[in-house]
Amino acid sequence: MTPEIAAGILNVPAGASRSEIDKQFRKQARAHHPDLLAGASAETLAAATTEFVRMSTARDVLYGELDRVAALIQKTDAPRPPRAPAAARQAPAQNPAPTSTAAPSGQTGPPSSRAGSTAPGTPGGSPAAAADPRGAEAREPQQQRPAENPQAQFGPRAGWTTRGPDDPYIRRGPVPPPPSPVRRTPMDPRDSRIPRQAPGTPSNPLDPSSFQYPPVQQHPQAPDPQNPAARPNPQYGAPLPLPIDRRRAFVDRRDPDRAGLPYPNDRRRAPADRRDPRNADNFPENRRSPHPDAFYRADPQQELGAPGSEVPPARPRHSTGPQAPSPSQQPDPQSSQQGPPVQPDQRQRPPAHEERRKRPASFVPPGFVPVGSAPTGSMPATTPGVPAPPTVGTVGLPGADPQASPMSFADFVLARDAQAWIPYVENALPPTPPRRAG
């Protein structure tokens, strides 16, 4: 690639400076860099990579041209080598080499007579130095310089100066800049300018033979179960056992859906659907916090609150009236005739939705307050002597009595608020923070 072509690729003039080249290269790299084409097709990526390599090559060519021109200018503008010292210049004059002192055929006088005629009476001094009007101070550095390079004064090359770059004798001007660092080839994989490619893609898209195979991943050596002594030292890359999760499994008592999961907010297991009748047993009455008195389950086969029932009749939690006598305390000849009471735990319990359907209309679960008789959760009556007027809805249980008419919204709110308070017991244990029923 010639510098003209490279300049045309980078769209810079022929004599562009390094900064201009860099500027144009960056400008074009922003448009053609393959990293900017994430998600493009393979053909587009290959074309962009080719274009980028072409730009890099053009830039390197222009850099090389700049270096070459700079070296040429430096060589041309370099100060001329100083004149050899007088002693060094006189040496070839006194012992002239056959080639250099070949006198013209018309010259008749001896060389010594020519030398003596130019500077008689000045031993070891050049005629220029003798004629220098600046004196010895100005001539001194010129005379001291050969001592630094004794080769210029003595030896076979006396009187001649080497033109090597390290020759301090001829280096007078400013120290030239160091040569530009060796630029790697454009597709050197160590070059950070080259975008990282997927394994297996050719490193140089212009060279199909540069296909690189992906590195082979070595599988760790498996231990031999038959010979444990030959088991490799686990310190040197042998497969280690899986790390033990030392985190204690989190058991959230408030939410059984998340119980047993390792993290508190882990939602890997979908919560049970409350509307699914198969899950009805898990959500009794769809209440998330049952009243403490509602822990037992009513037997659907028995008439609740009936004389033969094992279940005690409902007693409002905050009611002030006398407690109803327990059915076990009341003698019931019919139940004694039918035999011993069947334990509720031994019966086959129907599903919850069937259970709810078979409940009698008079079912009053314990812990739910008749709203009309005991208004709770409301503002105190303005008149202390006048009780609150009785409401139509008598039982404050949401959804407990499907055969009755639903209560009003106000009654529902009062009944719901009434269940929400666990009574305060004097001298009891300090109240634990409320938790959802598990």
Binding site: R254, D255, N265, N286, R288, S289, H318, A374, P375, T376, G377, M379, P380, P398, G399, P402, P406, F409, F412, V413, R416, D417, A418, Q419, A420, W421, I422, P423, Y424, E426, P431, P434, R435, R436
Partner: protein, 164 residues
């Protein structure tokens, strides 16, 4: 018809039970977040009312942080930006002056000054947003409570089966 929205877990506010009051269930606490009972209100008859000036709701440590995280995120970001500006200005000034003895690095003293100003402003903004959020929860508590009660009542009505 939609059911009640899922309750935030943990709850952002904790109920402070007045002395000799019964303990509310978690559902009540969740459905009455920020609701201030009127003076003289008692949960059950025979219960002494709360002392005047009683603070019923306090921020839950974990729950409030999670609840207010979205609202406080910009202010927190500004706070960290202020700290970063201060530290960057400090490092640039000290290291730049020490390394180069160039007086131009005194320009970054401005960052040293601006960093704490940004930090203080972001901190005050953080507190302002936090307090405003709590006031908003308290102001919207009756509406939220009524909405939850209405949803529960609708669910209660649905338990009676389809309307005939």
């Amino acid at each position: 018809m939609a059911d009640a929205p899922p309750l935030p877990d943990p709850l952002p506010l904790e109920f402070q039970r007045p002395p000799r009051w019964p303990t509310p269930t978690l559902d009540w606490v969740a459905g009455n977040q920020g609701w201030e009972p009127p003076s003289g209100w008692t949960p059950v008859p025979g219960c002494s009312p709360a002392p005047p000036g009683w603070v019923f709701w306090t921020r839950s440590e974990e729950g409030w942080a999670r609840f207010a995280e979205e609202n406080l995120a910009p202010a927190k970001r500004s706070l960290w930006i202020g700290v970063g500006v201060f530290v960057a200005g400090l490092l640039l000034t000290v290291l730049g002056l020490a390394a180069t003895h160039n007086a131009l690095f005194l320009v970054f003293v401005a960052a040293i000054v601006a960093g704490p100003i940004l930090t203080i402003r972001a901190g005050s903004r953080l507190k302002e947003i936090d307090d405003g959020l709590l006031d908003r929860v308290r102001a919207l508590a009756p509406q939220y409570k009524h909405t939850l009660q209405r949803l529960a009542y609708n669910k209660y009505l649905r338990s009676f089966g389809p309307l005939s």
